[in-house]
Symmetry: C2
Subunit: 342 residues, 2 copies
């Protein structure tokens, strides 16, 4: 088969890769229905995160179970499944506490931009859609549950978004936009999206944003304070991962408010005393997507949410390099990739 | 009057200071029944926190209302009152959310090691004991509510200590020990105190610790993991404020666990990515003691708790310098200071 491989800064190639097969008895191999490019893929793509030689890419996936190992009991060939970007056994203490993305057997998925994918710990990682194969038009939305929707959902939960609460979302990438959607689902009263691009502002409003703030830094903070009784928001979702976005988030929350951060921080350091006097709650990390999958799949199949709207570019998988380019240049919010085997 | 003044490293003097009087109509002046030396006073005492010339000291206090300003309505002369180390109006949005120590009119108390003390925002800061003057033997316990008990209480709440949960307390100063007491009051199942000193270990056990860990760093973390299903504790209270203690706390919590930090961090920086993958919740800041005062006073007056046991040294106020020395040298856990006017 052929799949995506990153060779260096802005050099993604679609080229021959080994077709995956069962290695461990707990593995499954999927035939991918859809995969995509993630905002987090742009860190190594831009050379901001080192890679160790040519690196297969991709961690978001859904598709059909092609084959399972001997020890796989719950997942069956032919099922349509969605899995998390992090594998989990769904039985260890961390999984039982709901932190599947810190499963003691966790592996991060790394090869999903391809027509076939090996998924370790299949029973604990994959969730089949109830009632068989979903209709074709739902596949983009189901794909988002694999990472960006689950991550936005975690961001809203970790920021303690409550009925009637005031929410700020820092970052207008797919995760930030789906953080808006998630905050809306949790009944937030006011959702302030920080965004400067028309298309993203429009989607934020579609997903439930009540206010758009284009200012950043101190000016952005001042505007948010103005909207929030002079003290800051109840909940702030940090969906970028830079020093600037983290500080923007902390400064936008009220004392006693909640800040979540869900993108891997890159060169972010927090000053202990500054954090102390901000009085915020801070929680984040890799989203425990597996915990949310059954609920998110249900919301999508029932038509309650349509997170697949974040895909504003659809490409055949062999044009994966264009997907990276379009997202890098912020021409696209998120690029959907369709293997030709489906 | 005479009170404590810090001149420089290890140079506390008991000397003439201006007797406080009403300045703002919302002020009260107290005749101090008891005050004390705080672990946080040791930072400037040791020269680890710069001072700007001779500095009056002390922020923990209880005593009798001597005089009130025209605008004071709730607090009355003759009442016995306990106040927080941070003033609060008890009416601003931050106070209404329970974060009195981020009151928009907050001032930090700074002159309590003295026979008389001016307290700004008296109505929002001071809480009288119900049923009049408390018996003399309860005064040390009531004094702890002004800071160290309220701070330990906040530490337990911010670390989400729950019925049956597993708790680690990093730091065996008065705050850490009262964090143990607070965790016990919240019904923790197992309370692991990290302490190396006999007297402190004994008091930790008196207050409810079930386990003592003397190891630190990686050895300490390994032991805690061994006690906690291999994954770490549900709740960790960081009661020191150094880089080492903060890292010890974060590494002792399980993914999804809660870390509180309640001492002002000194030269502490947190690496964003490390915090992210730790998956902990983090919350801290100056304890909103005012919120807890009515409850804590009730628990003390009813004899449910005896936090005053942290005072293992009692001195007349004019020997305040010895109080600092004894705590600096870790000969005393906490020094109670009694003005001679009472």
């Amino acid at each position: 088969m052929q799949g995506a491989v990153l060779y260096g800064p802005r050099d993604v190639r679609f080229e021959k890769r080994e077709t995956p097969k069962i290695i461990q008895p707990t593995d499954a191999v999927l035939r991918i229905a859809a995969t995509c490019v993630c905002g987090s893929d742009l860190w190594p793509y831009r050379g901001l995160q080192p890679i160790d030689g040519p690196t297969p890419m991709g961690h978001e996936y859904c598709g059909f179970v092609e084959e399972v190992g001997n020890a796989v009991k719950l997942v069956k060939p032919g099922q349509f499944v969605i899995g998390s970007f992090a594998t989990s056994d769904n039985t260890c203490p961390n999984c039982l506490y709901g932190y599947h993305s810190s499963c003691i057997h966790r592996e991060f998925m790394l090869r999903a931009q391809a027509p076939f994918l090996r998924v370790p710990l299949a029973d604990g990682t994959l969730v089949p859609t109830p009632a068989g194969t979903p209709s074709h038009d739902l596949i983009p939305s189901l794909l988002t549950a694999s990472d960006v929707l689950g991550t936005g959902w975690f961001a809203a939960e970790a920021a303690n978004v409550k009925q009637g609460g005031t929410v700020v979302v820092v970052g207008d990438g797919a995760v930030g936009l789906l953080g808006v959607l998630s905050a809306r689902q949790r009944g937030a009263g006011r959702i302030i999206a920080m965004s400067r691009k028309d298309a993203r502002q429009k989607l934020a409003r579609d997903f439930g944003a009540t206010d758009i703030v284009t200012e950043r830094g101190e000016a952005g903070t001042a505007l948010i304070k103005e909207i929030t009784k002079g003290i800051g928001a109840d909940s702030v979702l940090e969906c970028v991962g830079t020093q600037e976005s983290m500080m923007q988030a902390i400064q936008s929350a009220r004392p006693g408010g909640f800040v979540s951060y869900v993108g891997v921080p890159h060169d972010v350091t927090l000053d202990g005393a500054q954090l102390f006097f901000s009085h915020v709650h801070l929680h984040g990390g890799p989203a425990p997507v597996r915990r949310y999958l059954p609920k998110l799949i249900e919301l999508i199949l029932n038509g309650n949410i349509e997170p697949g709207k974040v895909f504003d570019l659809v490409l055949p998988l062999d044009q994966v390099a264009e997907g990276y380019r379009a997202m890098d240049e912020r021409r696209a919010i998120k690029a959907l990739l369709l293997p030709q085997t489906v």
